[in-house]
C-alpha cells in the first residue's frame, strides 16, 4: 500500500499478522495473471466468522484465518447452497483469545463491538438446519 509518491501508507487490522502495508510477491503475481481472485474483508466480518466457527464447530480459528472464513461466507451467499467451498484454515485462535474477548466485550471496559447473543442464535440456527438435513 503506497501513495502516488511511493510512500508507505499506514495499515490497520485487528489481526496482528495482517497489519502490514504490503503484499507478498507470489500473491501479487497470482492476481496479475488471473490465477487467483482476492477479496477484502474488514475487522467486523472476520470477527463474526471467528465466533461462528467457534460456536458451530468448536474450532477457534486464528483471526488471520477468520478473514478467509468471512470470505467463504460471502462467496457461499453468492454461489448458493450447492456450492462446495474449501477453506484453508491456516492457524489457530488460542493466541487471539485476548483480542477476541475485548472485541466481544467479555473483558475490559470497552463496549462490545459485536452482539454475541445474536451470533449464538445464528450459529444455533445453522447447526439445527444441518441436524435436520442429516436426519
Amino acid at each position: 500500500m503506497q501513495d502516488e509518491d511511493g510512500q508507505t501508507i499506514e495499515s490497520h487490522s485487528i489481526s496482528a499478522g495482517l497489519d502490514y502495508p504490503s503484499v507478498g510477491p507470489e500473491h501479487a503475481w497470482l492476481a496479475d495473471i488471473g490465477r487467483a481472485e482476492y477479496r477484502v474483508v474488514d475487522d467486523a466480518p472476520a470477527m463474526e466468522a471467528f465466533a461462528l466457527l467457534s460456536m458451530t464447530e468448536g474450532i477457534m480459528p486464528a483471526i488471520e484465518s477468520a478473514h478467509a472464513l468471512a470470505g467463504a461466507l460471502q462467496l457461499g451467499r453468492e454461489l448458493g447452497e450447492d456450492a462446495v467451498i474449501l477453506v484453508s484454515l491456516s492457524g489457530r485462535g488460542d493466541k487471539d483469545v485476548d483480542t477476541a474477548s475485548k472485541w466481544f466485550g467479555l473483558v475490559g471496559d470497552e463496549p462490545a463491538r459485536a452482539d454475541l447473543t445474536a451470533l449464538r442464535d445464528a450459529a444455533r440456527a445453522t447447526t439445527t438446519d444441518q441436524a435436520e438435513e442429516s436426519r
Partner: protein, 275 residues
Amino acid sequence: MTIADTHRLRADDALERARAENRSALIGYLPAGFPDLERSIEAARILIDHGADMIELGLPYSDPVMDGAVIQEAAKAALLGGTRTRHVLQAVEALSGRGAAILVMSYWNPILAYGPNSFARDLAAAGGAGVITPDLIPDEGADWIAASEEHEVDRIFLVAPSSPRDRLEHVVSHTRGFVYAASTMGVTGTRASVSAATEGLVERTRAAGAKNVCVGLGVSNGEQASEVGAYADGVIVGSAFVRALLENQGDDRAARTALAAVADDLRAGVERARA
C-alpha cells in the same frame, strides 16, 4: 551544451577540486523538507558556505531502513509537513549552481513510483549531480543504470565491511561518481568512534577498481573527519547536522549558528587530515 549543463557540478568535479587541494571532500546530508522546505534549503546553503563540497539531500521516506533515530525523526517530520518528491527536486534546483555538487539520497521506491527515467531527467534538469540509492543493488538496478546513463547523473551504490572482493568489483563497475563505503554494519547516527575496519574497506574498494571512495556512517566531528579524511576521498556527515537542526527547532538563528559550527569543525578536520 545546455544552460543546465554549465552549472551542473558532478560528484567527480567536486572530488577533483578537493583532491587538488590535497584533502578529502566534505559531504553534508540533510533531509529535504525539515523543518520545512525553505529552511532545509537555507540549512544546505549554510553547509555550502561553510565548506561542504557536496550536499546530499535526503528524500524523506516512510520506511527508512538505513537510518537511525535522528534522521528518522527529521524525515518523519518532513513527511508530516507534506514533503513530496517534487519538492526535493525543487530544493536541488535552489541549491545547484552554488559551487557544490548536489546529490539526492533516496530509497528506491519513491524513484520507482516517480519513474526512474523521469527522475533522472528531472534531476539533471534541476542541476543535480546524481543519486545515492542505499537500498538498491546494481543487480536489481537495470532500469536505474539505463536512466542514469541516458541523463548523465551519478549513480552511487554502497559497499559494506562484509562485501567480499567479487561483490566490491561488481558494485564498483556499476557505480558512477563515487562508491559509498558504509563504515559499519549498521544505520546512520553519530558514534563515539569510526570503525578501524573502515580504512581496510576503502583500500579493498580501491583495489576493486574504484577511483573515488567516500565514507559514511558514524562521522560527526572534526576529529573523526580528520581521521577518515586521511584515507578516504570524501567524508559523509548526516546525523550531526540533523541533530543541530533538531536541537534548535523554533530558533532559526541558533540553528544556523549550530550548523555552521558543525560544518566549520568538519571542514577543519578534512583540511588537517593530510597536512
